[in-house]
């Protein structure tokens, strides 16, 4: 391996490379350690060193998107609801144990047609953010969402979801109330309903908490929104065991709308005004309204059974593996 190249490597990256290198060197000293995985590791590492410049560039770009997706001036669920749906009525409570303000649910009209709208609510200032728990939901929120979805299903109202959450709330009470099964049941219910589900990621699409609203017949992402199995911070803590890996993790996770489209996870990317949605919130809301109207038209006249089976087929075909 050409050690000269190491001099050009940015600091954030160098530490990891050196750690891996020294481990490899140690392994090399073991007389008969010639396992194939060792050679692979070395090839891997040099490939990584070669491509550091591109990685660094990519990482910057991706991190910019992560920041945009979290920008507090970005239009939020309530902005879209106010700007898109007429006669919106907010509905509350899971009818079991409580009301979770981090999820907004209700009925409204778009283009004269009644729809159910469910979305994560983040809040714009500290007071609101605390009130809505930063958009991190508890089982009561997911169960409220299920209640409204069932209601919509019974009356044939299409379901529109607006996703914007760092993830489900990790807390003792949430766990005690069955966080895992609340999310699983939300996902399950979205495979059962016989009305169109249109899911739009408007900001952060954090893990299971996002997926609990995102099993759509059509899934779209705003250009600068993100969708990820774990937050870059969480990923760095587990794999890098160090917060310094956060930005690199963001890149490795491939969480941008373009990545999602390329991987066939989403159906559409909704363009944002130049510089991001926060620069022209009203325009953004209008664009999303147009998109929803178009999406609803696409599902016009398709039977409930067909909608349900298309959803199952779509999500059951996701995955990449080799078949020998």
């Amino acid at each position: 391996m050409d050690l000269k190249k190491l001099e050009e490597i940015p600091k954030s990256y160098l530490k990891e490379i050196l750690k891996s290198l020294s481990k490899l060197e140690k392994l090399k000293k073991i007389p008969f350690f010639t396992g194939i995985h060792f050679k692979d590791a070395e090839r891997d590492l040099s490939r990584k060193i070669e491509s550091y410049k591109k990685v660094e560039r990519d990482t910057k770009k991706v991190w910019k998107i992560v920041e945009l997706s979290r920008d507090e001036n970005r239009p939020q669920c309530m902005d879209y609801i106010n700007g898109i749906f007429d006669d919106f009525v907010k509905l509350s409570g899971d009818r079991l144990t409580g009301e979770d303000k981090s999820i907004i649910a209700g009925l409204g009209k778009i283009n004269g047609k009644t729809v159910a709208v469910i979305g994560h609510n983040k809040g714009k200032n500290i007071k609101q953010r605390l009130e809505y728990n930063f958009g991190m939901s508890i089982p009561q929120g997911y169960r409220k969402s299920q209640r409204i979805m069932r209601l919509a299903d019974r009356f044939g109202f299409p379901i529109i979801t607006l996703i914007d959450t760092p993830g489900a709330y990790p807390a003792i009470e949430a766990e005690d109330d069955g966080q895992a099964s609340a999310i699983a049941k939300s996902i399950l219910l979205m495979f059962e309903v016989k009305v169109p589900i249109i899911a739009i990621l408007i900001g952060e699409g954090g893990s299971g908490g996002a997926l609990a609203l995102a099993v759509g017949n059509e899934v779209a992402m705003l250009e600068n929104s993100t969708y990820s199995v774990i937050s870059p911070e969480g990923c760095a803590a587990i794999l890098w065991k160090n917060p310094s890996g956060t930005k690199l993790a963001a890149r490795e996770l491939r969480l941008t709308s373009r990545d999602m489209f390329r991987l066939n996870i989403i159906d559409n990317i909704i363009s944002e005004p130049i510089g991001g949605a926060q620069n022209a919130p009203r325009r953004m809301v209008k664009i999303v309204k147009k998109y929803i109207i178009g999406a609803l038209e696409r599902f016009d006249g398709i039977s409930g059974e067909e909608l349900k089976s298309r959803r199952a087929k779509k999500f059951e075909s996701m995955g990449f593996f080799s078949n020998e």
Partner: protein
């Protein structure tokens, strides 16, 4: 005589006794990690297992690299566990009852679910519908496999949809929760079973203790996330010792047969 130390009570156990006791501490009943192959051995009838989905393999389709590349991690996991992936699936008999069985192995990259685990759960679901036999899945997993990015998140939806079809076909679906079962597994196919059996003191939660502690900045109750706490909260049907799981399954399978 070789000895191992119990992770819970720290008492030394003779290796042979430990293995004969199904890797359960004879002093404190702590249930240690058991490999998928061993689990299979103690659960299904001799020579009754026919493996399915053997030909599918994980792909490092994102070229994911943290401190190691995903492809290297996969190879290491394969060498370490002698398994191809974090779950083995197949058809087997449990005391004469036909079942479609899936067993996860926490030793394979923390039992994490990527595309292959998702696909195998789907293959198993399709198989049990085709044969009209009950579905039994032993869960042991930290959650989704980060190295497959959002594709691993989608496996939650994929597996839920697959087992949903099993349920729609009126086929019994039973999960057994082993230590640990969390994240993307607990929030997908593990918790929507008709019957949920948990091993004693297994960690069964959505967010793990470390994450919760970091977020709420408070100490957690000592039983946080355990089977026992989940039982108290109504999240599992029963807590069963490893040695009794086969009998419990046999009883349940007979009840559904009528």
């Amino acid at each position: 005589m070789e000895k191992i130390k119990c992770k819970n009570c720290a008492k030394e156990i003779e290796n042979e006794i430990f293995i004969l006791n199904l890797r359960v501490c004879p002093y404190c009943n702590y249930h240690h990690y058991i490999s998928a192959r061993d689990r299979l051995q103690i659960t299904v009838d001799n020579n009754s297992f026919i493996e399915l989905g053997k030909n599918i393999n994980s792909d490092d389709f994102l070229n994911f690299y943290d401190v190691k590349s995903y492809s290297v991690r996969l190879k290491e996991a394969k060498l370490k566990t002698s398994l191809d992936e974090a779950v083995i699936i197949g058809e087997a008999k449990i005391d004469g009852n036909d079942v479609a069985i899936g067993i996860m192995d926490f030793g394979f990259m923390g039992g994490s679910m990527g595309s292959v685990v998702g696909e195998k759960i789907k293959i198993l679901s399709n198989y049990c519908i085709e044969k009209n036999i009950p579905l039994v899945i032993f869960c042991a997993s930290g959650g989704a496999r980060m190295q497959e990015g959002v594709i691993s998140l989608m496996q939650m939806a994929k597996t839920v949809s697959s087992v949903n079809r099993v349920k729609e076909n009126k086929i019994p679906y039973i999960t057994i929760i082993a230590n640990p079962t969390s994240g993307g597994i607990s929030a997908s196919f593990a918790t929507i079973a008709d019957i949920i059996i948990a091993e004693p003191e297994a960690l069964f939660c959505f967010a793990g203790p470390r994450v919760v502690k970091q977020t709420i900045k408070k100490n957690l109750p000592p039983d946080f996330g355990t089977s026992e706490r989940n039982f108290k909260n109504g999240q599992v049907d029963m807590i069963v010792n490893r040695s009794d799981i086969k009998d419990t399954l046999t009883n349940l399978l007979k009840l559904f047969k009528e």
